[in-house]
Symmetry: D2
């Protein structure tokens, strides 16, 4: 199951950056979820390059849902989403066939696929494929919305500029819903400036995304292997550029003592909560009812316009490479909605495993 993820609800991805179309098949979704096309559009809009901080490639992302939706509702059968590729300039990439771009998948694809890979624009490895993930995620979010689960991601850090962490989870998530540049405090202009500076320098920057998932009841996940951390991280590392995932206080927690790190339990309004949330809502791999919180480290976009050293694989010699083409100086902003989407898919799947395939059909309470 190489490009398929999920047990009860699964997503299968296909497509290449410069092929005819990309897409996804979402299987196992409950019947009866009303499809809000404008919500899908708005999610795709968040992923789409929109400003100077993004690539100049403009895809309208005109998707079709060709199956699994009937009279505006999910049917319970596989939902196939197809997004044709339109704004394609393959000539930009022909030169890279033999000279792999550093930190990209060009070289590893060549070895894995023996030269048969579609090398244009990163082929199947392209961030372009995440447009299909976003549609799949949007459908899962509609299902989650009905059972009270909400997801938000903001740029915690980018190019040396820090946003504040989540405080009031639900309010913060709602506040992020309205923002094109997802930050919680007043740092948009400073971050943007630094990103544009990197662009001017023919360079790129990375960042850290922080995500909160609100409303998942306690008791979801498995003790071994299919821990909530394990399932989420498995899927999150598919997002191009993610090189680290930490839950709750994560790496910082490794520097605390037990008495500092432990999240003490208490009753609040008859419900068990924890005073702190260093564990990010997960104990022993299973949700404890607190918001699930995690950070993803996103590396700087590898496509930079500076000259770089690389090899010529056919001539078997060292060489240099100067990339042209349309690239993002920072993908953190665009990656935020992809992180939300991947999270929605994982959480929907885990809920369907615990509560059954029709859990979202009624839109009730868990």
């Amino acid at each position: 199951m190489k490009n398929t993820f999920g047990a009860s609800i699964s997503v299968t991805l296909f497509g290449e950056s410069h092929g005819e179309a990309i897409g996804a098949v979402i299987d196992g979704m409950s019947p009866g979820i009303k499809i809000d096309y404008s919500f899908i559009d708005s999610q795709l809009g968040r992923r789409r390059p929109s400003s100077g901080t993004d690539t100049a490639r403009q895809e309208k992302d005109e998707y079709s849902i060709v199956s699994g939706v009937f009279n505006g509702y999910t049917t319970g059968t596989p939902i196939a989403v197809i997004i044709p590729n339109k704004d394609v300039k393959s000539s930009d990439y022909s030169s890279i066939k033999d000279t792999p771009r550093p930190s990209h998948a060009d070289y590893t694809a060549r070895v894995k696929y023996g030269g048969y890979e579609d090398y244009r624009g990163g082929g199947h490895f392209s961030g372009r494929i995440t447009a299909a993930l976003v549609v799949a995620g949007a459908i899962c979010m509609m299902a989650l919305e009905g059972v009270g689960v909400k997801i938000g991601t903001h740029i915690l850090k980018c190019a040396g500029v820090c946003d504040r962490p989540f405080e009031n989870y639900l309010d913060d998530i709602c506040c992020l819903e309205g923002k094109a540049f997802p930050v919680l405090s007043d740092v948009e202009s400073e971050m943007t400036e630094r990103i544009l500076q990197a662009k001017k320098d023919c360079d790129s920057v990375g960042g850290i995304l922080q995500t909160a998932i609100y409303g998942v009841p306690a008791g979801v996940g498995e003790p071994w292997f299919d821990t909530v951390e394990g399932v989420l991280s498995h899927a999150l590392f598919s997002i191009g550029g993610v090189k680290g995932v930490e839950f709750g206080s994560g790496f910082s927690m490794s520097e605390m003592t037990g008495s500092q790190a432990n999240d003490e339990f208490l009753y609040e309004d008859g419900r068990v909560i924890t005073k702190t949330n260093n564990n990010g809502g997960i104990n022993g791999g299973i949700t404890n009812g607190m918001p699930i919180v995690f950070n993803c480290a996103v590396k700087p976009t590898p496509s930079i316009l500076k000259e770089q050293k690389t090899v010529n694989l056919t001539e078997k010699r060292d060489t240099v490479l100067k990339i042209n083409g349309r690239h993002d100086p920072a993908i953190v902003r665009r990656a935020a909605v992809v992180v939300n989407s991947v999270s929605a898919i994982c959480i929907a799947d885990m809920l369907a495993q615990r509560y059954g395939t029709n859990v979202f059909a009624k839109g009730g309470k868990l």
Copy 2:
């Protein structure tokens, strides 16, 4: 597939801390791997509490391999490993049934299993289960050894004391093989001292483990979902206390520019290598032939002897808890071999998927 992990080579875990036995079933291993029992013993020895920095519970880990090995070699059929529990003091835990220990799985298990869970000593969530993972990992390491793959983990940081990172991967891995306290530089006594100080303070400490996997050829892994990062992190988060996983330069990479972070390619002795290894041997989810490098953040052991606030789940009120019993003030030392074991299982599986189920049968080159 809740407690089973892996596609071509899989491991199924079972057992509770104070039940009759724990164990694992390893399926899909190539036939013809010679079983080195003394190696398994030595690996179990690394996991076993052995000094003042560990718990006082002493398990001899007298395992039986009851199937899948015949005349000293793997047969290719499922290998069942059974490790009886012996040094069990269940009375230590009876008090915690209603008062969940902060940052432990007691509460989440209670919600998930509705009170039917074996709560003694953490039950199925106990670190005790990792003894079975270590035997499974040792068998995978024997298979990997035959194709030139080696794995090593050291304590990069613990209780504020730092070890040096990997430098010469192969030498460092070999050096670690002989060490009971896995560090690369001369920091054992200082780390040990700090851990014992935490113990004296009725507290605990965490740390960061760094792992290198040497000898995996380029081209292993999948672009979406079953990325090398995704598969490894999925399994690694099962290890109790792991709250973060980062590959290569991980979170630090998010603070670099592209020109700093990119790993440039060059030829060395006719092979493509990279000058730096910020990507930890993985591009686009697929190995590039450089050593795979990652760090795991391990939180401080939640079982501390200080009084902590918690709730009484039956009486539905706040209360306090003072844990007695035998606990580790730091599990990083013992966790190192578990990280190696989990890594061995994942890498063996990914190689078997790419090269076939008999890949290890010949012990040849990949």
Copy 3:
């Protein structure tokens, strides 16, 4: 994994009979397989209704392969096939929404999906979806061809008329390749006549398909669960109307004695073969190198033009139903290529598991 099948090579199906499109995603195929579009066309032609013995619905099956093929060869990444629905007359089916057709999936779909299912033309349960299976199967056949594996299916029995069983497997398979009506002896006109008679009677007939798979080496399959019989039957029962699968002499074997049934081994040209093939090429779930042989029982098409008793699900009362529309009086002829396709997918997957994902890349010998 509901509509996905396969471990190393997998197929995901989507689509509804009267939706926008149907399709399949084939994942895990080796890179470097040359795509022969005319072969795909000819396979689709075998499935397409073509004569008086089939439905009058005419679909041109104009498929697109939108990913996973580049410059005429498979890339190793997911191959998405999309087949738009064109000759759709939804009005034919509107009346059946509340009155489920006997022996069809109308009622079970209604219960499973709670009324949200696309009921038009059988929706996701329609035989129409097998067009996508045929394309997926054709691609797998191209891969299998390169390693010497060939598959053929003929109508062993239909409407009381019997074909002869396979004799010389390879010759028979090759002979079937050229036939639109797949029989080995001179029974086409008699079978056709009987089918047309059933049509005239507003009724339908079923039949038995016999399949041989030539060239699979010994040692493929697993002892428990993933036996060759288990994997093949799992997939074969997805084909609408298949209600029985037997391997080798199957149900007849249950009436033999051991001394009659056992397939004795002997050497022929230095290779181990069996004198008889009552076990259909499989011992203990694993191939023995003889051709894999099995029969599928196909029930008579449930859509008949005679009046039938059924229920009105909204009014909760008994009623009668008279189906109009375009239906096959017998689907055995069209099902033959679907059985071949499903078999090709299963065998390709099992070979890829044993020999690795690149097994078909070289087109060499197993």
Copy 4:
């Protein structure tokens, strides 16, 4: 996932006929199922050789459940069952190492595992392993009992003697519960006689088992791949000797016309039922609420005492073989409980997928 089966509830098998122990791990079972050890014992008793019609090997099947059960109830974590092998006479089998028994797995195991397989007594392919399946099945039956699902199997045909088919499903299933020799009509003595005659002839006989599953609600199963027929047959073909599986009227249905075969719907006591049950309770792969009915063709036991032709694999020449040892002249009687067990595992899994992992926890109605 080679020796593991199931999605939400899964079973992993291990062990060899003459190894230290065999066993199973059942994962995903709901917590709170009361374990009735005497029921497990009685189920094992049905599988155990008990009379002249069975092998003389006597295993007491003294199993241990070493995990997943606490205070007499399932905990929800993996249930590991271990059954030590005791009455083992390995000398009986040493001669067969090089001379594979016809219709057995000796040859295919040799090719698959390259000579490393445990060849004694069929090794991992032995019917002995089904003892573990029976324990796993018994646990699933306890869960199913709580939601009103019951399973029964009888010998429909053996050695030319026919039992009557199921008539009143529920009564017939209950009647079979009390019988050591599972037949519905008065044919035990005649069947037994014929089996003993075969034994006297140094030969063996096969038969057909018919199974009914009562109480599964409509709407369970999937349209493609994970059809109820597909999932059941997949698992059933693991049972040694099963060479055919047919649902409802199966192969006979292929000889009916549509008007004869179709199961018309009607209301009875406010519930939709079908007048006939030719489809065996399944339409389009999904249950329709009628009893699930299927037949398994069981080939004659391949171990016969007559001299047979075979090959010597080391000397690469034809030879003859005369088997000694303890064998069943017919395994249909003993296979009946194994078919029930496998069915219970599959149905429990499918219910857990649809209704969630805790479906059996309450023992309520579906």
